[in-house]
Each structure stands twice: as structure tokens, then as C-alpha cells.
Symmetry: C2
Subunit: 122 residues, 2 copies
């Protein structure tokens, strides 16, 4: 049994202006969470000087996070979900398009495997 | 060249009451970020009913995130840093102790490898 799935996604050769725009990045990371079927709890974003955006969308099912390096046309995204019904593939395709990304790769890491019925502590 | 390091950490057989206490979890995740040498930007935490805590600390160097399953004495932590000088080992040991965790494992994923000097888009 697995409690969560952690999607580690690399977006390369993105549109520099898109991933340096905090309003744009926040809007579309939130939208991608909705598209995946997540329920948004809170969203917190931060713009760095001279460039780059960091942001996290806390969802009922865990989180979506992004960190961008506009100077390298690169965005690092991770999506953590405890719901096996979340459609993260749809969210990844959406972000790839919105960021004008030409090279994309991702991996899925299982979280909390085999922790059910282990010896417990109060 | 690598832009970031993403530490994926599994804390098993934790103290159930510790990882179900939002104030306790928020305090110690923030403290672990400071211990690692991070500069905290914002912290956002959420308590789930009937149990569990999710939280993210956005740092100048990226983020620290946690999701807990008290019913399985399990906490999933990830630390994303773009600073090669961050002492995440010290932060992990600190959290292991504070959560009363008996089984601990982690992996480090390089983020943004070989994206410098790729073809760029405006």
C-alpha cells in the first residue's frame, strides 16, 4: 500500500517571460491543480529579485510547488498527492503548454510505502 | 551543473501525537529550515480533520514541505534547495528527533541538470 505519489517534473526550454511573471505562474499552477481534480486550500507565491518565482499551492490532497529560473528557461515542478484519482498527467500537459516548454520529463516517487500496520508510537 | 537538490525523506514510526499537532509541526519544520541555513520567506500550514497536517515553508532557497499521516505514524518531508551550502542533513536529524521517528530514509534528486546554456526562448 502506498499513501502518496510525488511527481517530480522538469520543464526545460520554457518561455522566459512566462515563468518570470508571478501572476501568470500563480494563476496557472492553481489552474493545473484544479484540472488535476485537486481541492485548493491555500496558495503562496514569492517573486525573487532580479528574477524567478517560487510558489506552493497547498491542496487537500497535499501540494503543488514550482520554482523557476527564467535565466535558464527552466521550471522545477513537484506535485504531491495522496489521491489515486488525481489526474496529474493532465496538469503536466497543461503547464507544459502554458510555459511554452519544449523539453519535459518527469518521474513518480511512491511515498509512504509499507508504513501501514507498522509498529506504532502514541 | 545542477540548479537544485530535492531531498525526499520518509519518517516512519513517528510519535503520533507530535505529527498531529499543527503548532508543533509548524514550529519544528520552520526551525529545521533555519538549522539548515535557509532564509524563511513564508510559512503556510493546514490541519486536516480528523487528523493530519500539511505545511510548506517557502524559503529564499526554495521550499520545505511536510504531510503527516498520524494514523500510520508517518510523515513525508521534502526539502528543495538551490543552495549547495544548505545543511539538509542537520535538518533531517533534527526532525527525526523531534518527531520521535524510529525508521528514516531519504534520497536526493538533482533538479535542473544540464539546463544551463540550452537553447533559450524569450
Amino acid at each position: 500500500m502506498t499513501l502518496g505519489w510525488h511527481i517530480i517534473a522538469e520543464f526545460e526550454q520554457c518561455s522566459r517571460s512566462s515563468i518570470d511573471n508571478i501572476e501568470y505562474v500563480e494563476k496557472h499552477l492553481n489552474e493545473s491543480a484544479k484540472i488535476a481534480g485537486a481541492t485548493i486550500v491555500k496558495s503562496v507565491f514569492h517573486k525573487f529579485a532580479p528574477q524567478g518565482v517560487s510558489g506552493v499551492v497547498v491542496i487537500e490532497e497535499s501540494h503543488f510547488a514550482i520554482h523557476t529560473w527564467p535565466e535558464h528557461n527552466y521550471a522545477a515542478v513537484d506535485m504531491f498527492t495522496c489521491s489515486e484519482y488525481m489526474d496529474y498527467d493532465k496538469a503536466l500537459v497543461y503547464l507544459k503548454e502554458k510555459f511554452g516548454c519544449k523539453v519535459f520529463k518527469h518521474q513518480v516517487i511512491k511515498r509512504g510505502e509499507n508504513v501501514v500496520n507498522q509498529p506504532s508510537e502514541v
